[in-house]
């Protein structure tokens, strides 16, 4: 009898433990409020390479450097509720491409904005989430505040598990109202004050395909309306509407022998400005011992140019832009993250390099002389209140 009870209790313990762990396979969106509060801070340095002499009128020019500080707090409010606070501060300085000219026919060169631009940004978001037996639902409010740009956004999201728990349906809606008031300085701006709205929807479904593998597919739609032109670019006039679609897929697989997980993600993007892009990202999460993890990651991105992009923008066209972000290019990036746990603390370090070139892309187009390469470094600490 005692043996039978012990066996039952062991089985019950196994079932209970598994049930407690169930939410994890839905990732960040668990179906139970977090058992403990958690807090984290990060400091990141983002540094763009200087513009090259050969691509610039005049001497090479410093581009953007950004210091970023982040704070994250997630706390259970009750068995079914949690609240999260995320704050991000940015301090930016440097210069950006103002427009593209030609030194000799067919040799485009950038003219930089000249005087160094200084700006700060504060982004605060509060999210509350309700957890129920077969899913969860969240509501979020976010406020972003810069000298020249303010945004208020709300979003709703939810997840619902099938009866057998093998499949999860997810959805999200968001709306934002953004105000633009460019800083008046050394270059004329395309507007003194303007506005834009963003509406977005996303649906996804994830499916467990084995004890160690899960797959997810998603469809997204975003509508932007209002002043979508870059206020600081000299030759820039864009449509006041933009419709965007995404199709995405993700795969997670754990290799028991290697004690590692592979993450593979793909996104297809299309819009009515003529831009189409593909993004592929792969990361390897390798555990080393019981307390350390190293995560090498690579990302490839390629995009087609917008219908109205040209290095030598024709100001007589209805719409025109020489912004490198609307040109055809490919980008390769890669880096390494390291995480080490010490008791309730964990230390996180990240280094990443991003480089772009027109010749690396799948689409042909005019190569912009303003394409960006950058380094990013992050250091952070997390703490769990156990």
């Amino acid at each position: 009898m005692a043996t039978s009870n012990t066996k039952k209790n062991t089985t019950l313990l196994a079932l209970t433990s598994s049930a407690l762990m169930l939410p994890g396979y839905e990732g960040a969106l668990a179906d139970a409020a977090p058992a403990f509060a958690e807090m984290g801070v990060r400091y990141s340095k983002y540094e763009e390479d200087d513009s090259k002499n050969s691509n610039t009128f005049g001497a090479s020019s410093e581009r953007y450097d950004i210091d970023v500080a982040q704070f994250h707090l997630l706390a259970p409010v009750s068995n079914n509720w949690s609240i999260a606070l995320d704050v991000q501060w940015e301090d930016m300085s440097g210069a950006s491409p103002w427009f593209v000219g030609e030194s000799t026919p067919g040799e485009p060169k950038i003219i930089m904005s000249g005087a160094s631009i200084e700006d700060t940004r504060t982004d605060v978001s509060v999210t509350t989430r309700y957890y129920y037996d077969r899913g969860n639902a969240g509501f979020s409010y976010a406020r972003s505040d810069e000298d020249d740009y303010k945004s208020d956004a709300i979003s709703l999201d939810g997840a619902f598990n099938s009866a057998d728990g093998m499949r999860t349906y997810s959805g999200a809606l968001s709306a934002s109202a953004d105000d633009i008031e460019p800083t008046q300085g050394s270059v004329p701006t395309n507007t003194l004050k303007d506005h834009k709205d963003i509406r977005s929807a996303w649906i996804g479904v994830s499916q467990i395909i084995s004890k160690r593998a899960i797959v997810r597919f998603g469809l997204g739609y975003t509508y932007r309306e209002g002043f979508l032109t870059d206020p600081y670019k000299f030759r820039d006039k864009r449509p006041d509407e933009r419709n965007e679609w995404t199709v995405s897929a993700g795969y997670r697989h754990f290799f028991v022998d290697a004690n590692a997980a592979v993450h593979a993600d793909y996104r297809y993007f299309d819009d009515d400005w003529g831009i189409e892009s593909h993004t592929v990202e792969v990361a390897w999460h390798q555990d080393i011992g019981d307390h350390s993890r190293v995560i090498p990651f690579v990302r490839y991105y390629t995009q087609d140019q917008a219908d109205f992009f040209a290095n030598q923008a024709n100001l007589n066209d209805t719409y025109f832009a020489d912004d490198f972000r609307l040109s055809a290019f490919g980008a390769l990036s890669g880096g390494l993250r390291v995480k080490h746990e010490i008791g309730n603390w964990s230390v996180n370090l990240t280094g990443e390099r991003y480089e772009s070139s027109e010749s690396w892309g799948l689409y042909n187009g005019d190569e912009s002389p303003a394409l960006v390469d950058y380094w990013r470094y992050s250091i952070g600490l997390d703490y769990t209140f156990k």
Binding site: R42, M166, I208, K211, T246, F269, Q303, R325
Partner: protein, 71 residues
Amino acid sequence: MIIVKCLLAFALAALLCGCETVQPWERGTLAREDMAWEGDIMEGAIRSQIHASKEASSGGSGAAGGGCGCN
């Protein structure tokens, strides 16, 4: 668009196929932190923001939210 059609076909196949039934007590590996869709929230936030401000595409893992004047 061929890639998108292949992706959608694969998605349909994956969702309709007779996937291995995994009982609740067999989902411990799937519940691991390193199997999550979105891992480090702060790392994900800063990477998404940088990519959205240097490339013409964004989104794919949720609703868009608000914009920023990030150049």
